[in-house]
């Protein structure tokens, strides 16, 4: 297991608010190898964002360990080590798109001029050309997500956590974004952990999928997606894909419990 970039061992998180105790995560084991694309899928409220917050250093686990590059790293020590794109794009309305994307470089102490040059090189790839000087309010949802992604990429971390980046997009835009993300991932050799509610999305993108149960969040299944890459989009209608999809859906249905819709 020495090759894992990021690893969770027996991770648990308990929230105590106003006398109420909520176990968001319970004994979660998860491993993310170098340059892997791994997805986490599970019902709403099962602790996916909580898991990401722990990986990013925003929350401290109540039990278990996080290992970064094989070394146990706790709480705030993870801050600034892992790239994180939260569920909301969180673009700053007072910065134009260009200056939003260079935030990570700016924090790292890179001069604005150099940071802007480096960002501009990537604007075409992220489909943002011509919108450098626009403000976030002028952009469509898809473009805002791409801008937030560019901000995450430019921060330059090896491991990137993406929390439902395409959750708010229509299915057509979404399919385009998925193919595009795979291309970026392949070109830039990043390690990506990805949260989604969408089974097709998880299988199409990932090397491995972790299915989680509803609260308290536990890993109920680990599915290796051995479909060769590069993957054309029509693999989602191929037989092995559909078989895996059935397995995963069945698992999620069990996780959800009877009588509840996804």
């Amino acid at each position: 297991m020495g090759s894992a970039k990021l690893e969770a061992r027996g991770l648990g998180k308990r929230f105590k608010t106003r006398g109420q105790v909520v176990d968001a995560l319970l004994g979660v084991d998860l491993s993310l190898g170098d340059r892997e694309f791994v997805s986490v899928i599970g019902p709403s409220g099962c602790g996916k964002s909580t898991l990401f917050n722990i990986f990013a250093g925003l929350e401290t686990p109540t039990s278990g360990d996080v290992l970064l590059d094989g070394r146990t790293t706790v709480g705030a020590d993870l801050l600034g080590r892992v790239g994180y794109m939260p569920q909301q794009d969180l673009l700053m309305p007072w910065r134009n798109i260009l200056d939003n994307t260079i935030l990570g470089l700016e924090v790292a102490g890179v001069s604005k001029r150099v940071a802007r040059e480096r960002a501009l090189d990537l604007f075409p790839l992220f489909g943002l050309s011509g919108f450098e000087k626009r403000y976030p309010d002028d952009l469509s949802g898809g473009m805002r997500q791409r801008a937030a992604l560019l901000r995450t990429f430019l921060a330059g971390r090896d491991v990137i956590l993406l929390d439902e980046p395409f959750g708010a997009l229509d299915s057509l835009t979404r399919a385009g974004m998925q193919q595009w993300l795979l291309r970026i991932w392949e070109e830039h050799r990043k390690t990506i952990l990805f949260v989604t509610h969408d089974v097709d999305e998880a299988l199409y993108l990932s090397d491995r999928v972790y299915a989680m149960s509803k609260r308290p969040g536990r890993v109920t299944q680990i599915l290796e997606v051995d479909i060769p890459r590069p993957r054309a989009y029509d693999v989602i209608t191929s037989e092995p894909f559909i078989e895996m999809k059935q397995v995963l859906l069945e698992q999620l249905r069990l996780a959800h419990g009877p009588g509840k819709a996804a």
Partner: protein, 288 residues
């Protein structure tokens, strides 16, 4: 297949960049002018109507100018005493501007300090509120005793009266910041100072400007009050002098000059706001 996204995005992007903005800009300026005309015309027409009514009333009733001068008489006084008004307006204006700048600076600075440290906030904030309960009427004469008939007591009265709304709004703004935006900065490895500069302060700017507008309105009143307590120049001093001389027409003229100055200063703050945080203004316009 991987090319579709890029091909789809690129033409839209380039088209919007090279063609749309100039046309849009022209349309924007025209729209801005139209909006201005629309905003200014009704109050102007209303003022003309009231002035005419006032003028007619004075001539019909033959009321003494000592009690109620006609607008035409006030206008005449303005022209005849233009030099006098200008000289004294400059005095009052400098009191307002210096005092306001001082109050704003202290207000914003204190606001930032207060939101930096919880203990500092908890020990100082209540006293700030308490300080506003001390009537300025009681403080101003003491200031005059200390500093004489100079600029200083007026500037201090203006500063004292205008810093409070700035502090309160700055603190509110800094504290209302989106928690998640701060968390995002933390995951990027940002320090507290960097977070303050890159997130908290820009976030608080609209709040700060709300405070500054209120402060400016209060500053004008503060300057006049400061002059009433002890001075030998300024519009407030003129008003007092005219009042003693029963020069009602000139008094009205002085009030007019002061009001015009106050309105101009208020809108000046609004103009600065648009320059400093254009993104906020654009957003509000879009919301209408």
């Amino acid at each position: 297949m991987t090319g579709t996204q890029r091909e789809a995005a690129a033409p839209i992007a380039n088209g919007a960049a090279s063609v749309a903005p100039p046309a849009e800009d022209r349309r924007d300026t025209r729209r801005t002018i139209r909006r201005w005309v629309k905003a200014v015309t009704p109050p102007l027409l209303f003022a003309v109507f009231v002035l005419m009514l006032w003028e007619a009333l004075v001539w019909i009733t033959g009321i003494s100018a000592l009690l109620l001068p006609a607008p035409s008489q006030i206008a005449l006084s303005l022209i005849e005493n233009a030099g006098l008004f200008a000289r004294n307006a400059v005095v009052t204006l400098s009191e307002i501007l210096i005092g306001f700048a001082l109050g704003a600076l202290v207000g914003v600075g204190l606001g930032i300090l207060l939101s930096y440290s919880r203990i500092f906030e908890r020990s100082v904030y209540p006293w700030l509120v308490a300080s506003q309960m001390v009537p300025i009427v009681a403080v101003a004469p003491i200031l005059v005793v200390w500093f004489g008939f100079t600029l200083v007591p007026k500037v201090l009265v203006v500063a004292l009266i205008s810093f409070f709304p700035v502090v309160v709004n700055t603190v509110d703004g800094l504290q209302s910041v989106d928690r998640q935006m701060i968390d995002l900065m933390r995951t990027l490895g940002a320090s507290r100072v960097k977070i303050m500069r890159a997130v908290r302060i820009p976030w608080a700017m609209p709040f700060v400007f709300s405070g500054l507008k209120i402060a400016m309105a209060l500053a004008v009143v503060g300057a006049v009050f400061g002059e009433w307590v002890g001075s030998n120049a300024g519009l407030g001093y003129l008003m007092l002098a005219f009042n003693n001389q029963l020069a009602t027409t000139d008094l009205f003229a002085a009030v007019l000059v002061l009001s015009a100055m106050g309105i101009a200063l208020f809108f000046l703050v609004g103009g600065v706001e648009r320059l400093v945080i254009p993104w906020h203004h654009d957003k509000r316009q879009g919301g209408r």
